[in-house]
């Protein structure tokens, strides 16, 4: 950097018009400081984000072992991934998880945010209580929920027993396991979405409600005609975030159900983990990662465009 600066100054002195205008406008002395401040970020992003992202793409077309030694295999990994029945199963499971998550958890934070906003006092209390599960490490909450779901003598079975419903094998039954896991996830995560909605509700000017009131609109009419249209951009944003997050579901099936029963909770990320760290097949695992990047990238692109437009 220092060398370039010096050369540049001399060059300008000798041939004042040899550089384009934009080149001369850059103040090279300031650039040294600017890049010294940026250097740590450029290094960590380079080594621990940009390089790995690039390598995921390269690895997808390579045979790689644990030490990073590699040889080109063309589309072999992609072909093996697509012909593996697990590909269809895992993505179908991811889709089902996403649909369940939306149907079970999407509207809860919206409704709760509206109700919390109506509270005269104690807003902070409710916010904190609903937020607490989001700070709990997943391993710990899984230990507790596994006990709640215990088939014999578990709390949930005793509870539904009061309604004369026979005991269920919550985590061992193919039909129930996805919903059981999604209940844990909804409990664990709705609190952070709630905060987004509470913030969005605070942005609605009180005048709008006053005007509607003068027109004689009932409280529920006000919710429909003012609150919902105003929340609409936030709702689209949280919808996409939720789908992206749920499509990456890993820790719950990995620790709690090991992908089972059968293949009911086999998810794309769980397959990536197994191909890489159980089978040592980093190339195939990277091909799977690439499919994840492409599929979620489409979702993310939509989301980020939306987010930047909103904040701009």
């Amino acid at each position: 950097m220092a060398v370039t600066t010096k050369l540049d100054t001399t060059a300008t002195l000798i041939q004042p018009h040899s550089r384009p205008a934009w080149w001369r406008r850059i103040r090279w002395g300031n650039q040294i400081a600017a890049y010294l401040f940026l250097a740590p970020a450029l290094i960590v992003f380079g080594v621990f984000a940009w390089l790995p992202i690039l390598k995921t793409i390269l690895f997808s077309f390579q045979n790689v072992n644990i030490n990073g030694d590699s040889s080109w295999v063309g589309f072999d990994n992609i072909q093996r991934m697509l012909s593996d029945p697990a590909f269809g199963t895992a993505w179908k499971n991811a889709l089902q998880f996403a649909l369940l998550s939306i149907s079970m958890g999407y509207f809860i934070p919206i409704g709760v945010a509206i109700m919390v906003s109506e509270m005269r006092r104690g807003k902070a209390f409710f916010r904190l209580v609903y937020f607490l599960p989001t700070v709990i490490p997943i391993t710990i909450s899984l230990l507790i929920w596994r006990f709640i779901y215990k088939p014999d003598g578990g709390f949930l079975n005793a509870l539904i027993g009061l309604l004369n419903v026979p005991p269920q094998a919550w985590l061992q039954d193919q039909r129930l396991v996805k919903a059981s896991i999604m209940l844990i996830l909804t409990w664990a995560n709705f609190g952070s979405t709630l905060l987004i909605y509470i913030a969005a509700l605070q942005d609605i000017p009180a005048d709008y409600y006053e005007a509607a009131e003068i027109d004689g609109a009932s409280p529920f009419r006000r919710i429909r005609a003012i609150t919902f249209p105003h929340l609409y951009p936030t709702m689209i944003m949280t919808f996409i975030i939720q789908v992206i997050a749920v499509a990456q579901i890993f820790t719950e099936p990995f620790l709690l159900t090991k992908g089972g029963p059968g293949t009911a909770t086999l998810t794309p990320v769980l397959v990536i983990y197994r191909k890489a760290f159980d089978n040592g097949d980093f190339g195939l695992a990277s091909a799977w990662s690439l499919s994840l990047i492409i599929i979620l990238g489409i979702f993310s692109a939509v989301y980020l465009r939306f987010f930047t437009r909103r904040t701009a």
Partner: protein, 297 residues
């Protein structure tokens, strides 16, 4: 606390029977939901107090007949909580120091020092938000096993986590927006006094950014304390693992000495205390921090 002006219901309506009943319905629903949400915490706490026999057939019986407080102290020593809590705090603390150093320096440069190709670099940072980090986990792992150029392995070293944790594009974005909002006059005055960029950064910018840095610390603390997969892969040596990783494997030992359920629950409850204490004591920063922080998903 925030002053309540009005919600969807007006003050006047709050005095009518309809308004009152809507309000009470909302309050009731919120209280029921609060109990449901808090239930697993209470459940783990009381289950940890039950006896070995009581817990297997407890069903709806939530409170123990004869609380066994000794289980908690026994679990504390048996599972070396002190060691693993220390590991966790060291891991999270170091991660936060690295993350904040890298993030604030980069954001300051992008916001104030006008680096050449700054927009391009910012775009490069933002790309990492669009690509789920789990998708490049494998090359990240091989990078950590054999660091480029230096050819050293970061396995079983906290640096193997601190450095990847320093990648925080969201933090850079938030800090950059904040630094851009500081009036230019402040900087110009300092420059006239002959302060260097580092002095300006350290003695003017950082003190002003204290609030937002606290927010980033809370968000970061919770996120790093929760992390499971990366510590599991980077720290195969059990003695170095954080509590969240180690506890799962200790409590799921498939040997004959597998811990009983009451021990499991007591240990779980102890392990969830630190993040809860952080959340409760710093809750006034939560709304502000997490309505931005949660956006990352």
């Amino acid at each position: 606390m925030e002053t309540w002006d009005r919600g969807i219901l007006t003050r006047l309506e709050m005095r009518t029977p309809t308004g009152r009943s809507i309000f009470l319905l909302f309050l009731g629903l919120l209280l029921v939901l609060s109990i449901t949400v808090l239930f697993p915490f209470l459940f783990a706490f009381t289950a940890g107090l039950k006896t070995n026999l009581e817990i297997y057939s407890s069903g709806l019986q939530i409170f123990p007949t004869n609380p066994q407080w000794s289980t908690y102290s026994m679990v504390w020593t048996k599972y070396s909580f002190l060691t693993y809590f220390k590991n966790s705090f060291f891991l999270v603390g170091g991660g936060l120091v690295c993350q904040l150093t890298v993030t604030t320096l980069a954001a300051y440069s992008l916001a104030r020092l006008k680096p050449f190709a700054g927009r391009l670099i910012m775009g490069g940072f933002m790309i990492t938000l669009m690509i789920p980090s789990i998708a490049y986990l494998i090359p990240l792992y091989t990078t950590l096993v054999k660091l480029p150029i230096l050819n050293i392995s970061l396995l079983n070293s906290y640096w193997g986590l601190w450095l990847p944790y320093s990648v925080n594009a969201f933090g850079i974005l938030i800090m950059k927006i904040f630094f851009e909002s500081i009036p230019d006059d402040l900087y110009d005055a300092a420059k006239v006094d002959g302060a260097s960029p580092l002095q300006i950064f350290w003695s003017i910018t950082l003190p002003l950014a204290r609030g937002i840095i606290i927010v980033l610390i809370i968000v970061g603390f919770i996120a790093l304390w929760k992390d499971f997969l990366l510590p599991l892969l980077v720290l195969p040596n059990a003695d170095l693992q954080p509590i969240t990783v180690r506890l799962w494997y200790m409590l799921n030992a498939s040997t004959v000495s597998a811990p009983s359920l009451n021990e499991q629950m007591a240990a779980s409850f102890l392990a969830l205390l630190p993040p809860i204490i952080v959340a409760v004591t710093l809750q006034r920063y939560l709304q502000r921090g997490l309505s931005v922080g949660a956006v990352k998903g």
